[in-house]
């Protein structure tokens, strides 16, 4: 199956948060619907997202889901790589939230 790649650069307003420089998190692979990689990258306060998915025609919805996630969590200087396997927009949003919660837990340890 041909895979579709999308790239977005999204910048939240105000003060943003990132991850430690040397840290990266690969999230929620066990679910079978998607894999999320989060890491630090100097982007002048913006977030960069790369998505690989078999689904085409929903770029606009992807962008909205990601914008909401990045704005709500005030993420900046962050690189997100998403390998998707036919997730619905809600599952994407839920996996992102779950990955971020796990990432923050990981940072505490």
């Amino acid at each position: 199956m041909a895979l579709h790649e999308m790239n977005f650069k999204i910048k939240a307003e105000g003060k943003t948060e990132s991850f430690p420089k040397e840290w990266s998190h690969t999230g929620v692979v066990g679910s079978g619907d998607m894999e999320i990689l989060m890491k630090h990258k100097e982007l002048g306060g913006a977030a960069e997202v790369k998505i690989v998915t078999p689904v085409t025609g929903f770029d606009e919805i992807w962008e909205k889901v990601l914008e909401k996630f990045i704005f709500e969590n005030k993420l900046g200087n962050v690189l997100l790589e998403i390998n998707d396997n036919n997730s619905t927009p809600f599952i994407v949003a839920m996996r992102l939230k779950q990955a971020l919660i796990e990432a923050k837990e990981g940072m505490k340890q």
Binding site: S31, F58, T88, P89, F90, M94, K97, Q98, I101
Partner: protein, 554 residues
């Protein structure tokens, strides 16, 4: 006054038909299976109203196939009145020109072919009903002249044992028999001694031992291994934001994975929230295998069943405190009575749907399928004839945003009608749409009104992954539409959401997000389920549940 008016023409007609069939009767009321077609040609007349027992689950499939083989010269223009159009033979009888008119309730598996046949003019559609409406009309203007029914066992005098899958049989027989109709039954077995009598023999005219047992569909078995994390999240939200919030004790669950998830979360999440004994004690419900863990954990006091469910026979037999059993210890189901209970004795209906429009109307109709209604609208409506109070009903009514505009200063309760909806289903089909497909179907099938499963003014709660909209609290249509947009996610309807409106609705408690409900979404996963697969259900049942072969994947 004239004295020569005949007042018993139906009875005379009935007697003449029965007499004509005498050559086919062997012992008692028994007719040989190979004489069935001839029997039908003899007792059915053109233009008769005929019921072929097609229930949600049980099917008089042998009699239905035989009806397709009668001579069109002798039997034609039948008006079929039956609840479910489930088998291809139910439509073949129209294709062959034996029947012309149809009044029914539900046609799940045949919905696509039915739509085509209506368009081609092969079926003249009377109306699509809810079960209770159709049963009601059996006694008023759609009384069957001949009913072709199905039972498990009979004796040669026509006494019937319908047992576990009684379903619609009593209501069909009651209507047809007492208006001088003719009852023909196919049974799996003719025996000397019945386990119990469900239908007395003098209500039955002809008994046929079918060459194979009647077909019955396991409609209510949901494999827990197919439940998704999103369904677990919606289930957690429903339990905390609705079941617990209103203390709902008496309810019905629709078919589907969302309600299966709720059933499987009762012994885990429900227990954790301290809800045992406070919610979910009484059900009007088919015997859902996914309810076994909650029953075994002592949650459920009572279940009355519409029908049976394959594999649940032995389990039910051993749980007579919970289910309704005959003197022989097997389940007695009865769809008409559970439907009545669902209408008047339950405080909540919870179910899924395909499409919800911006006003909150919901429908499972699509342009190419005439699926019908079944019982959901009877469960999923606020019965205005209700007069007894309960905590959940009173609380929901007290929150009704327009009650004072309807009854002034008089309080009134309201039934909880909950729609669980995924904002996008498989293949990105949206769960919220600007216009229901039901409109297009109404046009293409020339229906008088779009077939809506649940009207917006009956719906009280819509649960999506985004949140719960308590739409009965809204004081205007505008506010209701804003609440629906707020939970409609990234669908076209949801994208019109205005953040400042949603903020206000959250402040008023009309919209609650998982965060507002105090639900940690990172916990929303399958590990919360009390049973993760069918094998776990068997274990919970202590080996009493015996799942159908297709669900045995270990």
């Amino acid at each position: 006054m004239e004295n020569n008016k005949v007042w018993n023409s139906l009875k005379r007609d009935r007697m003449s038909r029965i007499r004509a069939a005498i050559p086919y009767v062997k012992m008692g009321k028994e007719v040989a299976a190979e004489d069935t077609v001839s029997l039908l040609e003899t007792v059915i007349k053109p233009h008769d109203k005929v019921n072929i027992e097609g229930d949600n689950q049980k099917q008089a499939d042998f009699l239905s196939e035989c009806l397709c083989q009668v001579s069109k010269e002798r039997v034609h223009d039948l008006h079929i009145v039956q609840s479910s159009i489930a088998l291809s033979s139910h439509l073949d009888v129209f294709e062959k020109g034996i029947a012309t008119k149809l009044d029914y309730s539900f046609s799940g598996p045949q919905a696509g072919r039915m739509a085509n046949m209506i368009r081609e003019g092969k079926i003249e559609l009377g109306a699509i009903h809810t079960y209770l409406e159709l049963y009601g009309r059996y006694f008023i203007d759609l009384t069957p002249r001949v009913a072709l029914i199905a039972a498990e066992k009979a004796d040669i005098n026509g006494n019937l044992y319908t047992g576990f899958n009684t379903e619609d049989t009593p209501v069909i027989v009651e209507a047809a028999k007492f208006k001088q109709g003719i009852i023909i039954v196919q049974v799996n077995e003719i025996v000397d001694q019945l386990p119990r009598v469900d239908i007395p023999g003098d209500w039955v005219d002809f008994v046929i031992q079918a060459p194979r047992p009647f077909y019955v569909e396991p409609l209510f078995t949901r494999d827990p291994s197919l439940i998704t994390d999103a369904q677990v999240l919606r289930a957690m939200m429903a339990i905390k934001g609705i079941y617990a919030e209103y203390g709902v004790q008496r309810l019905n669950h629709g078919v589907g994975f969302d309600t299966a998830a709720i059933e499987l979360l009762l012994p885990t999440y429900g227990e954790e929230l301290g809800l045992k004994g406070k919610i979910c004690s009484y059900f009007g419900l088919n015997p859902h295998p996914t309810l076994i863990p909650a029953i075994e954990s002592g949650w459920v006091k009572n279940i009355h069943c519409f029908g049976g469910e394959n594999g649940m026979e032995n389990y039910i037999k051993e749980r007579s405190d919970v289910f309704f059993l005959g003197p022989d210890d097997s389940l007695r189901s009865n769809r008409a009575f559970t439907q009545v209970a669902g209408h008047y004795a339950l405080d909540m209906f919870v179910g899924g749907t395909l499409q919800i429009d911006p006003y909150g109307n919901s429908s499972t109709a699509t342009e190419s399928r005439v699926a019908g209604f079944g019982g959901a609208p009877n469960m999923g409506c606020d019965p205005h004839g209700r007069r007894h109070a309960s905590g959940a009903w009173l609380k929901c009514g007290s929150e009704n945003g327009i009650q004072s505009q309807l009854t002034g200063d008089l309080p009134r309760g309201k039934k909880l009608v909950v729609q669980l909806q995924e904002t996008f289903r498989e293949k990105m089909a949206p769960g919220f749409v600007e216009k229901l497909d039901a409109w297009k179907l109404a046009e293409s099938a020339d229906m008088e009104l779009p077939p809506v499963m649940i009207y917006g003014d009956d719906v009280t709660h819509i649960v999506t992954e985004e949140g719960i909209a308590y739409i009965h609290k809204c004081a205007s249509m505008e506010e209701r539409m804003a609440a629906i947009r707020a939970v409609a996610g990234y669908t076209k309807v949801g994208l019109k959401e205005k953040p400042e409106e949603t903020k206000e609705l959250r402040r008023k408690g009309i919209v609650k997000t998982p965060e507002d409900l105090g639900i940690d979404i990172s916990r929303a996963n399958r590990s919360m389920l009390a049973a993760k697969n069918v094998r776990d259900l068997v274990k919970w049942s202590g080996g009493l549940y015996n799942p159908p072969a297709r669900f045995r994947n270990w």
